[in-house]
């Protein structure tokens, strides 16, 4: 377990302020944030390289706030690996290893056989990251901190290594905290996602929840939500309204959200007034004509851009001057014969709208 309780740290002119979160024992936490948000500073504080000015750090229930790095039972893997250049690959992995058997095991898992006798200066960036991960894991720490460990790997190796790390994590049961700026990595690996910005935790929770319900428009944008709209929420009144103005058991009520010339129908625990609405592109469907359906938001528009990306295709539809992005399967795009300039209907459910 890695637990931070109101941690404040100063590193030069940069400050981490009032950081609190917990990654449960054997859990996998992912810290997401833009460059300069304090991600590496956070890891170095947990590792004991930087001293907090206040607050507490607990590793596996033990208060290590003032303990030196070597007695914290955790490892750190930097983005730039920091392999010891005066040692061979094998000697690097052996550096803090518990036993030769563990070195052999971890070297096999990371497929380091070919590299072992090479000088670290001859390795590529991706190979360095693999060796750095192997070196940290060979110590069998109680917790491990990864700073963008897969960033220099090619896509295929990255997927393989994610699986390897996840397998070792499951088998050995260490607690992991990984820094990334790639939210898809958080979804693939993390049990807990912590969003950091300008030295503060701005949101934390399960990756799925953070992804679906970003706390601020900035987080929504950072997490790759294409459809973020500024507008005004207004209560839905009168017998003629299509949605009843009553709170449900979760405190949500039917509202209208007005942005530019569009009005969305939504459910939310939000007060009347200005706010932002987020609709993930995956929640938007496209059809060639209006249909009778439970989707309360259906808008006619014209396709302005089609970007195929593997199995998914992102289609931008201009609706009266407001662009809405839909992520649909490439197969659907083909079947609908979508092309730039075509008229289509973009639709999404009232529940697909998240206010922040």
């Amino acid at each position: 377990m890695i637990s931070l309780d109101h941690i404040n740290v100063r590193a030069g002119s940069f400050e981490l302020k009032d950081i609190s979160f917990e990654v449960p024992k054997a859990g996998y936490g992912v810290v997401i944030g833009p460059a300069g948000s304090g991600k590496t500073t956070l890891l170095e504080t947990i590792a004991g390289v930087l001293r907090p000015t206040s607050g507490r750090i607990l590793i596996e229930g033990t208060d290590v706030t003032h303990a030196p790095p070597e007695s914290r039972r955790l490892g750190i893997v930097y983005q730039h690996a920091y392999l010891f250049p005066h040692l061979s690959v094998r000697r690097n992995v052996e550096y803090g290893a518990r036993s030769t058997a563990i070195v052999d095991d971890i070297s096999e898992r990371f497929e380091l056989g070919e590299l072992e006798r090479r000088a670290v200066t001859s390795l590529s960036g991706g190979e360095r990251q693999l060796v750095a991960m192997a070196r940290a894991l060979a110590r069998r720490p109680a917790a491990i901190l990864f700073d963008e460990p897969f960033s220099a790997l090619d896509p295929r190796t990255r997927n393989t290594m994610r699986r390897v790390v996840r397998t070792i994590h499951r088998e050995w049961g260490f607690t992991a905290l990984q820094v990334t700026h790639d939210f898809s990595e958080a979804g693939l690996l993390g049990d807990v996602a912590i969003v950091l910005d300008e030295g503060r935790v701005v949101q934390q929770g399960e990756p799925e929840a953070v992804f679906r319900k970003p706390a601020t428009p900035y987080i929504a944008d950072f997490l790759g939500a294409e459809n973020v709209f500024a507008g005004v929420v207004r209560s839905v009144d009168g017998a003629g309204s299509r949605l009843a103005n009553r709170e449900d058991e979760f405190g949500k009520r039917a509202v209208e959200f007005i942005t530019d010339a569009l009005t969305f129908y939504a459910l939310g625990d939000v007060s009347d007034g200005p706010t932002h609405a987020v609709i993930r592109a995956e929640e938007v469907s496209l059809s060639t004509e209006t249909s009778a359906s439970s989707m309360k938001n259906q808008f006619h528009g014209r396709i302005t851009e089609i970007v195929p990306a593997g199995a998914l295709t992102r289609v931008t539809v201009d609706i009266g001057g407001t662009p809405i992005v839909a992520a649909i399967t490439t197969r659907s795009a083909r079947e609908l014969c979508l092309a730039t300039g075509n008229d289509v209907v973009a639709a999404f459910k009232a529940t697909a709208i998240h206010f922040c």
Binding site: E44, A47, G48, V49, P68, P69, E70, R72, L74, G75, I76, Y78, H80, Y82, F84, P85, H86, Y95, G96, R135, A136, R139, P141
Partner: protein
Amino acid sequence: MIRAIATVLVAIASSLFLLFIVGPIIGLVSAGGGRGIAGLASDAELRSALLLTIVTATTATVLGIIGATPLAYLLARRAFRGRAVVSALMDLPLVIPHPVAGIALLLVLGRGSPVGRMLYDAGVRVAGSATGIICAMLFVSAPLYVSAAREAFARVDARYESVARTLGDDAWQAFRRVTLPLSAKGLTAAAVVMWARAVSEFGAIVILTYNPKTASVLSYDRFTSYGLSEALPVAAVLVLFALIPLAALRALRAGEPIRG
């Protein structure tokens, strides 16, 4: 056209400067080198002065390494209150005239001072002894070592130590197993520079210890007592002698990339 003229001007200026530095040295070696080398066999005073110079410079360098390495490391790695002041103090011996440094040392370590008297009572004579030569050499050359060693440590990213610490090393082990090997080349170069500077020292030594004579004092002594022709062989031998650390330094830096 302008570029070609600029290139020619730069080449002329560089050649003149090089000639200004190398000319006197070539003149000195060609005039006295042969006699100086021959004198190594026949001139007992010259041999003795050279041996004394080597022993005292080496001792001063070893003392400098022992005393100044931790300070250089602290200056490179730790942000402590007064770091700028300590850095400035370490540079001070480099900017004051060396005879002034000798006078300062004499004031503190001579028999007239409390420290000097205490040392004398303990059987350690500073002024007029090899100990005085070592003190003078240490005072004027150690700051060069601190500066170069600090640079050598600063070139090793502190994160190597952080990684070593998380792999179980305490601070000393991380220094010994990681920082020291990675900065070894720079530290050796720093020691060579210090040694070379100690060998060539004259101003501070001549105030603190005229006798026994180091090679630099001997060349001055022969110049003032017997004239230029007698001083030439000693001076030429000193120049040839200085080539040894310079060659070592070049060899150490041979693998370094040219920055730009």
